[in-house]
């Protein structure tokens, strides 16, 4: 067990190193320079561009830049080129903003998909199953922003309530319940939109897992024991069907970062995805790279956690 953990950590650190190199290279070798060192900007004289380049170490060879960058990152000193703010602080702020969206989306996804998926596995081939299949694929297939616009326009023109942003602006000093509810209302649409795809995919997956498990011998054994059908499904079958989801659960963490650029842009939700997107536009390398790095760390941590969780949950695996 310990040796597994040790090995896996070392392996992940090596992977992380390569990820950092690859992302660094992608960004630095691609054409296009940060706007701060954009020589065309009439407000920047060539000397200033030069100074910026020096300040950001852009005049150094790539490997030195790499070392500088990750040294700064690991000591928490990286600053955004755009506004000289600490990158980690910025990301943390955005992270906190993304968090509610992520949590509500995850709760919706993970609560809804199971009953939907299980039910359609139980009534396999029936009307419910077919229609849930159809709707799942409908939700997977609809272009996110198209769906978002339709929803927004529907809500705004029909109910005349604001939906954009994290709260209603100019609400002023209302009671805290109002404020909280208002925030929850603003969470609703983006998180539902963010969750739709997840629900669709996950419920399909739950269904196929349940089907897989349902045809197992031990389920038959349980039935032969006289266990009530419900208990057969929700105890014997589900417990086994759930095992792979432990792995998936470890991997939802990185979803926090990748987030949804599109949803966040449409809803002007100041989350991680949008920050990353704007950083790309501004060629704000420190932010792009840091986000990349952190998401890689999260992915690796996620896989690690899910490996360990799997070991804990599945009695068959002991290392």
């Amino acid at each position: 067990m310990l040796s597994f953990i040790g090995r896996s950590i070392i392996q992940k650190i090596i992977t992380l190193f390569f990820v950092s190199v690859v992302s660094f290279l992608i960004i630095h070798l691609a054409p296009g320079k940060p706007s701060q060192v954009d020589p065309l900007n009439p407000k920047f004289t060539p000397e200033m561009v030069e100074r910026f380049r020096k300040e950001f170490h852009l005049d150094k060879p790539l490997y030195i830049q790499y070392i500088y960058f990750y040294r700064d990152l690991l000591t928490g000193k990286t600053v955004s080129w755009k506004d000289n703010q600490s990158v980690l602080k910025k990301i943390w702020e955005r992270f906190l903003n993304s968090l509610p969206l992520f949590i509500v989306g995850t709760i919706l996804t993970w609560t809804l998909s199971f009953p939907i998926g299980i039910r359609s596995a139980i009534f396999r081939g029936g009307l419910y199953d077919r229609s849930s299949t159809f709707f799942s694929y409908l939700l997977i297939s609809i272009p996110g922003f198209f769906f978002a616009y339709i929803l927004i326009i529907f809500v705004v023109t029909r109910f005349h309530v604001p939906v954009i942003g994290m709260e209603t602006f100019g609400l002023g000093a209302s009671s805290w319940t109002h404020m909280v509810m208002d925030r929850i209302w603003h969470l609703l649409l983006p998180s539902v939109l963010g969750a739709t795809g997840g629900i669709a995919i996950l419920s399909r997956y739950v269904r196929s897992q349940m089907l897989e498990v349902e045809s197992q011998d031990y389920v038959r054994t349980a039935r032969a024991k006289g266990v009530p059908e419900e208990q057969v499904l929700y105890k014997h079958a589900l417990r086994n069907a759930l095992l792979p989801f432990v792995t998936m659960f470890g991997l939802i963490l990185p979803g926090l970062i990748g987030g949804s650029v599109i949803i966040e842009s449409i809803f002007s939700w100041p989350g991680m995805g949008r920050m990353a997107y704007e950083a790309i536009l501004a060629r704000d390398y420190p932010i792009i790279l840091t986000v990349n790095f952190i998401s890689a760390v999260l992915v690796l941590a996620g896989t690690f956690v899910s490996d360990v969780l799997y070991m804990v949950v599945d009695p068959r695996i002991r290392l």
């Binding site: 038959r220 032969a224 009530p228 059908e229 014997h236 417990r239 068959r316």
Partner: protein, 330 residues
């Protein structure tokens, strides 16, 4: 007869697919008396397991569908019972031991959980006594140091031990009838013998009936009181063990017996029945065995064979042999 515990009468069970129907059971009838061991013998794919599962109604419907017949247990037609009533029968009155001990135990629950559950779904008992009963059961089925084993997960047990746990589970509520569906097929020969002995022992101790399903005639000879030979969804021959073994009256039974390794003469080639069991979706409406039968006459291909009575409850579905009195084997 009061003595009859289970009586399956003209049971028809079909699998209905999109475009085809597989006739898994095509009018099967058999009986198990109290305290009796009955064997259901046949090649794989002939409907043995399905018939056992149909008794307990734990076969998915659809695609399966019971098309007719009765399953009388203590005089009560199980097919008429509601699902809840059926649940009370399963495990409690009729228990089942499955073929694959490796996969028939739920991998994520401990042995204790699984045996306990078998008791708890039928009886209101406190935890402590359940635990004691579990230990006792494990002792009964011959598992050493049962207290420790209780905490184990199925994957930590050997194949034989798992089958013993399965048996313990089946016995948990003192059922009247245990259906054992090829319980030894997946095991080593030595363990097979142990398990068989265990069955014998338990049967005597607990005075239950045993419906033993197997393809292995060797096993049958050891334990069965009566034998039903199944082929392609119908019972082709039935009778006492000695009758069947000494006076097989159906070509299929004869073929099966001939292919027993022990019976062949040393050095001679082993007998085998040519061909394979027909696809249940495409089997002929007449005698299903006739394409493989040495004695087939033209009528075999057109008429469904009638039952021929040899007396002493020895029945066969081969009018050809019955009428021609073709010599017995050996």
């Amino acid at each position: 007869m009061d003595n009859i515990l289970l009586s399956v009468q003209d049971l028809k069970f079909y699998f209905i697919g999109n475009e085809r129907v597989a006739r898994a059971l095509d009018g099967v009838s058999y009986e198990v008396s109290k305290g009796e061991t009955v064997c259901l013998v046949g090649e794989s794919g002939c409907g043995k397991t399905v018939s056992a599962l149909t008794i307990l109604r734990i076969i998915p419907q659809p695609p399966g569908k019971i098309m007719g017949g009765k399953v009388l247990f203590n005089g009560q037609n199980l097919l008429d019972l509601s699902e809840e009533e059926m649940q009370k029968i399963r495990g409690n009155h009729i228990a089942m031991v499955f073929q694959e001990p490796m996969t028939s135990l739920n991998p994520v629950f401990t042995v204790e959980d699984q045996i306990q559950e078998a008791i708890m779904v039928h009886e209101m008992v406190d935890e402590k006594s359940v635990r004691e009963r579990c230990i006792q059961l494990l002792k009964d089925v011959g598992i050493p140091s049962p207290e420790e084993r209780l905490k184990d997960y199925p994957h930590q047990l050997s194949g034989g031990q798992r089958q013993r746990v399965m048996i313990a589970m089946a016995l948990a509520c003192d059922p009247d009838l245990v259906i054992a569906d090829e319980p030894t097929t997946a095991l080593d020969v030595t363990i097979q013998a142990q398990i068989l002995n265990l069955f014998q022992e338990l049967k005597q101790k607990r005075q239950m009936s045993l419906l033993y399903i197997t393809h292995d005639l060797g096993v049958v000879a050891n334990i069965a009181d009566r034998i039903y030979v199944m082929y392609a969804g119908i019972i082709v021959e039935q009778g006492d063990t000695s009758n069947i073994f000494h006076n097989p009256c159906h070509p299929y039974t004869q073929g099966l017996l001939k292919s027993l390794p022990g019976r062949a003469k040393r050095g001679s080639k082993l007998h085998s029945i040519p061909g394979t069991v027909p696809d249940p979706a495409h089997k002929p409406g007449s005698c299903p065995f006739h394409p493989r039968c040495d004695f087939a006459i033209q009528a075999c291909g057109t008429e469904f064979p009638r039952v021929c009575d040899y007396g002493e409850g020895h029945l066969s579905r081969c009018p050809v042999l019955y009428e021609n009195k073709v010599p017995k084997v050996n």
